[in-house]
């Protein structure tokens, strides 16, 4: 037995009216809302933040697609078909010139039946920035022709080469982002809507509502995805325009996806509705709608968002798969899926590999969504 441990009890008299003062920082910490705490947790996950930034950039680019792309979507160059990517150089023979590309000399080789392009060192084509290029209608509101990067006047700038009609792959990729990224978001919105309503009803009300919902979910989940897609796609009338087909496609993707979400919602609700706060609300006279919306949903909204974020990439991939089967979007609508299908052949793999570049934004987007979604999910339960 050595010395006694120090007392932790203060010798000051007790003041019952004392209110504990929190420092500003402590206040921020202890009084933080759920969402704020989620954000802090998310920030810890560096990769998720990076992924989020990438996604933000991509989605923002959708608004200024025409501005970013050097060429218009349908712009084609008959004398530059299957042109290889043009490298950007800074120094021409030792002198700093600024970003430029060498012009391409074209020759049709009838021996190998191939179009040969050789960069010509004498034709220096400087790139222009914030320049005048192909005309476009900005958001269908007004005409403009300003571009971020343009080729030199009478020159070419094929950053990723051209395709079989002489269209710039890089520009088409940028335009494709618009469709592919939107498909995911709209599809998820539909899936969300269906999953929340049906799952929510099933989870909260229980009884026969639950039974019917569960059976439906089970039925839909046991049918393999592919025939569902095929059947529903084939059911779309042939005379729909490209835009209507696009929306029809997103609706189909959403329709096939909602059971998973509904199940998650349902199980969460089942657990949560037994909680005391829910009973309290009911006792206070809140109608079921208010209880679900105001009390239950916010509790697992974070999980749902994380789930949803993780579903988006599968929708993007599904769009590419459907395009491959010929059921999804088709030219002239341009999405990454359509671009990849055009590259799905012998000559693209063996002779013109630059046609495969559109796979990269798909990979990046899917990875980004996955990491971001993972981060969200990890952060979703900040009270852990």
């Amino acid at each position: 037995m050595s010395e006694k441990l120090e007392h932790f009890v203060s010798a000051d008299p007790f003041n019952p009216l004392e209110v504990e003062e929190l420092s500003a920082e402590q206040e921020r910490f202890y009084m933080a809302s759920q969402w704020r705490m989620m954000w802090w947790r998310l920030k810890r996950h560096k990769i998720a933040v990076a992924a989020g930034a990438v996604l933000a950039v991509m989605y923002l680019s959708i608004f200024i697609t025409e501005f970013i792309a050097p060429y218009d979507l349908l712009n084609r160059h008959t004398d530059h078909i299957f042109a290889p990517p043009q490298q950007i150089h800074l120094f021409d023979q030792g002198k700093f010139v600024g970003p430029f590309v060498y012009g391409l000399d074209y020759k049709l080789n009838l021996e190998t039946l191939r179009r040969d392009y050789t960069p010509n060192p004498t034709r220096v084509q400087k790139l222009r920035f914030f320049c005048s290029g192909d005309k476009y209608e900005f958001w269908n509101l007004f005409e403009a022709d300003s571009h971020l990067i343009c080729p030199a006047k009478d020159g070419t700038f094929f950053f990723l080469g051209t395709d079989r009609l002489g269209r710039d792959v890089w520009s088409r990729m940028i335009y494709g982002a618009r469709i592919s990224l939107t498909v995911g978001i709209v599809g998820i919105a539909i899936s969300f809507l269906l999953g929340l309503t049906i799952g929510g009803a099933a989870g909260y009300f229980g009884g026969w509502v639950d039974n019917v919902a569960q059976r439906t979910i089970e039925i839909l989940r046991s049918i393999p995805e592919l025939p569902l897609w095929m059947g529903l796609s084939a059911a779309m009338p042939e005379d729909w325009s490209a835009i209507t087909v696009f929306f029809g496609l997103t609706i189909i993707l959403g329709l096939v996806d909602w059971p998973g979400l509904a199940r998650a919602v349902r199980s969460k609700l089942l657990a949560l509705r037994e909680e005391d706060f829910c009973t309290a609300a009911a006792l206070m006279g809140a109608p079921p709608k208010r209880i679900i919306a105001r009390h239950l949903l916010p509790n697992f909204m974070s999980h749902l968002i994380a789930s949803a974020t993780l579903s988006i990439p599968s929708m993007i991939l599904a769009e590419t798969a459907l395009s491959f089967l010929g059921l999804g979007l088709r030219p002239p609508v341009t999405s990454w899926g359509v671009l990849l299908v055009e590259a799905q052949n012998f000559q693209a793999v063996a002779v013109y590999p630059w046609l495969l570049f559109p796979a990269i934004p798909v990979i990046i987007t899917v990875l980004a969504f996955n990491f971001f979604g993972d981060g969200l999910r990890d952060a979703a339960d900040p009270y852990k």
Binding site: E238, R330, F346, A350, V351
Partner: protein
């Protein structure tokens, strides 16, 4: 350039023969030496007919070869076993390399007044199982199958009915058969020589086992039950499909016979020991012992061919594969040849004169509109962009390889001329335009035209992209719409589709003796006037009657052709029809003579470097007789 001489002088009493009876010393086929020695197979002198067909090679591009070797080919679907009937091309009468019809299986074919056909078989010709091939096989088909009302799923084919009249069928002796009509039948011989041939015979000895007249009812019942068919008629039909070529037990006359029971991924075809063709050295054809057909996904055929997995390939290879194939030649040991296709047009636009939309129907009926559409197409650009300039620009009409060709048919209204096109449209009164330059229809709507095409091929959408740009300059806005093939055709037939893109004339190299029916409304399958065609096809029961004077004239000429007594008369009719057809531009041809990529192993001989690749006439490889292709064994290890 091919020599074109007339195959059949229908008005004369013609005898078409081949070399007289042989005095050749036959050499036993190496593949059967052991079986013959063991007594399991008769010697070659007993297997080959008394007067076999002796094949003379021209000595320059084709020489007699060596027997042996296995040929690997790729096909895109399981049902493509039928292609061996096409490639084997053993026909009663067949087209030769110059597209003249000559007897092949037959020793002789006598044609009198174009309506009496006497067929002479070769004595001693046997089926692939050794059973004799005689007139009985023809009688069995005609009397017990085609005209037998009990056999509900077979009836005399259309090519054998002239003006509703069936032929008089006579067996003159065991190697001579005669078919007679009261009017000429110009379709008979071409159909017999077709890629999908008209079969006048069946292996009677085999089929009788499944026929109620020759087999006891209980045996029939047992067979039907075992095969899970509905009744003997169904079973009889199913085992006897010669073109389908899916029954290994069905005897055949083709050079290779099926040795694998479907379904399979790889079908092996073994040489026919009783084949009727020999070369000048006395070797029995085919040279190649075995053909192995690997069934794979159609889309993989180019890359697999590039990998050297096929010794002879054309099906499944598109022109846009040619660069990659040329690149792989060295590593994979093959040569890439470019043959010419022979459709009247590889791609043509078909304005639907029977479209439901009254506004557009009126426009399409005005020849000025059709001509403007044609003048507004930059064919040169299309040729350069898609075909490296190797194809021919022009109308949907006969090709230079046909004796009926004239440049003015090919070139009418095909020179790219925006000014002239605009002038024609202005002339029609369509002068109102939107600020963007799109013309307005008389009812005020914008002139927006949707062109529909099948999803199966990639070229139409590329071509239409190019056309879209040039038509914008004449004030027409073009929309593309790909569609599933069957849905597409149904919509065209019902008039829902305004314009479609499809192949042009099936036979772009006709002689005057070929039927000009493609130029007149004859069938619903013609996408420019489906309802008129249907009317003619169903004899007025469905569709709409033809009501354009030029189309009526074409119909009348088509009828006259079948009754024309002389070849010169037929030729005159053809010329007039071609003249009307190209003046009127009922279909707007875009490009023709597109090169077809043909890959052949570098060890495979007698494969033409340049030739015509066409379905009918031509049978793809058929008219070049693959039974005469051989492997240069010195350089290649036979595996």
């Amino acid at each position: 350039m091919m020599n074109k001489y007339i195959a059949i002088a229908v008005s004369l009493f013609t005898v078409i023969t081949v070399e007289p009876a042989r005095a050749l010393d036959l050499i036993e086929t190496p593949a059967f030496k052991t079986d013959v020695a063991a007594g399991k197979m008769p010697p070659i002198s007993a297997r080959v007919p008394a007067n076999p067909s002796i094949v003379k090679f021209n000595g320059k591009t084709a020489v007699p070869g060596k027997q042996g070797g296995k040929l690997n080919i790729l096909m895109g679907r399981k049902k493509d076993t039928r292609q061996m009937v096409v490639y084997g091309y053993a026909r009663l009468v067949g087209y030769d390399e110059n597209f003249s019809i000559k007897p092949d299986i037959l020793a002789k074919m006598d044609v009198k007044e174009g309506r009496i056909f006497t067929l002479h078989l070769r004595r001693g010709h046997k089926w692939s199982d050794g059973h004799p091939f005689t007139a009985e096989d023809f009688r069995y088909y005609w009397e017990d199958v085609a005209t037998n009302t009990e056999v509900r799923n077979e009836s005399p084919p259309a090519a054998m009915i002239v003006n509703g009249e069936r032929p008089k069928f006579e067996v003159l002796d065991e190697v001579t058969i005669r078919y007679s009509w009261s009017k000429p039948n110009p379709f008979f011989l071409p159909r017999l020589a077709g890629a999908r041939p008209l079969y006048l015979f069946r292996p009677a000895h085999y089929q009788k086992k499944y026929h109620a007249k020759y087999t006891a009812a209980e045996t029939l019942q047992k067979q039907v039950k075992a095969a899970k068919k509905r009744n003997w008629v169904a079973l009889h039909y199913s085992v006897g499909q010669q073109y389908k070529n899916a029954n290994p037990n069905l005897p055949t006359l083709q050079p290779w016979m099926l040795a694998t029971k479907p379904p399979a991924k790889r079908f092996v075809f073994k040489r026919n020991p009783y084949y009727y063709r020999v070369d000048t050295k006395g070797q029995q054809l085919p040279y190649i012992d075995e053909v192995r057909m690997n069934v794979t996904n159609n889309k993989l055929i180019p890359i697999k061919t590039g990998g050297g997995e096929s010794d002879l390939q054309a099906r499944g290879l598109n022109f846009n594969n040619v660069t990659a194939l040329k690149q792989s030649e060295k590593q994979s040991g093959f040569k890439t040849n470019l043959w010419r296709t022979a459709k009247g047009a590889r791609w043509a636009l078909f304005p639907n004169l029977n479209t439901q939309d009254p506004m557009w129907r009126k426009l399409f009926r005005d020849v000025r509109f059709r001509r403007a559409l044609s003048l507004g197409i930059n064919r040169r650009e299309i040729n350069q962009v898609i075909y490296y300039g190797l194809a021919r620009e022009g109308n949907n009409t006969v090709l230079p390889e046909s004796p009926l060709y004239h440049p003015r048919f090919k070139n009418r209204f095909t020179k790219f001329d925006i000014t002239r096109a605009n002038a024609l449209l202005d002339d029609m009164g369509l002068t109102k335009k939107t600020p963007a330059g799109i013309r307005l229809l008389p009812n005020g709507k914008r002139m927006e035209l949707t062109v529909v095409f099948s999803t199966e091929e990639s070229e139409p959408s590329d071509i239409l992209e190019l056309i879209r740009d040039s038509w914008r300059d004449i004030g027409i806005k073009l929309f593309l719409k790909p569609m599933q093939r069957d849905v597409l055709r149904n919509r065209i037939f019902s008039g829902l589709v305004k314009m479609s893109m499809w192949f042009g004339l099936e036979n772009g190299i006709p002689s005057a003796d070929a039927s000009p029916q493609e130029l007149a409304p004859t069938t619903q399958q013609q996408l420019q006037w489906p309802k008129w065609g249907q009317f003619v096809e169903t004899r007025g029961r469905a569709g709409e009657a033809v009501d354009m004077p030029q189309a009526l004239r074409l119909s009348a000429l088509n009828k006259k052709w079948a009754e024309a007594p002389t070849q010169d008369g037929r030729r005159k009719i053809w010329i007039e029809m071609l003249d009307i057809y190209t003046k009127q531009l009922f279909s707007v041809g875009i490009i023709s003579s597109v090169p077809q990529v043909v890959v052949a192993s570098k060890h495979l001989r007698n494969v033409p470097k340049r030739a015509i690749y066409n379905w009918d006439p031509g049978a793809h490889f058929g008219v070049y007789r693959p039974d005469g292709f051989w492997f240069d064994a010195k350089k290649r290890k036979l595996n």
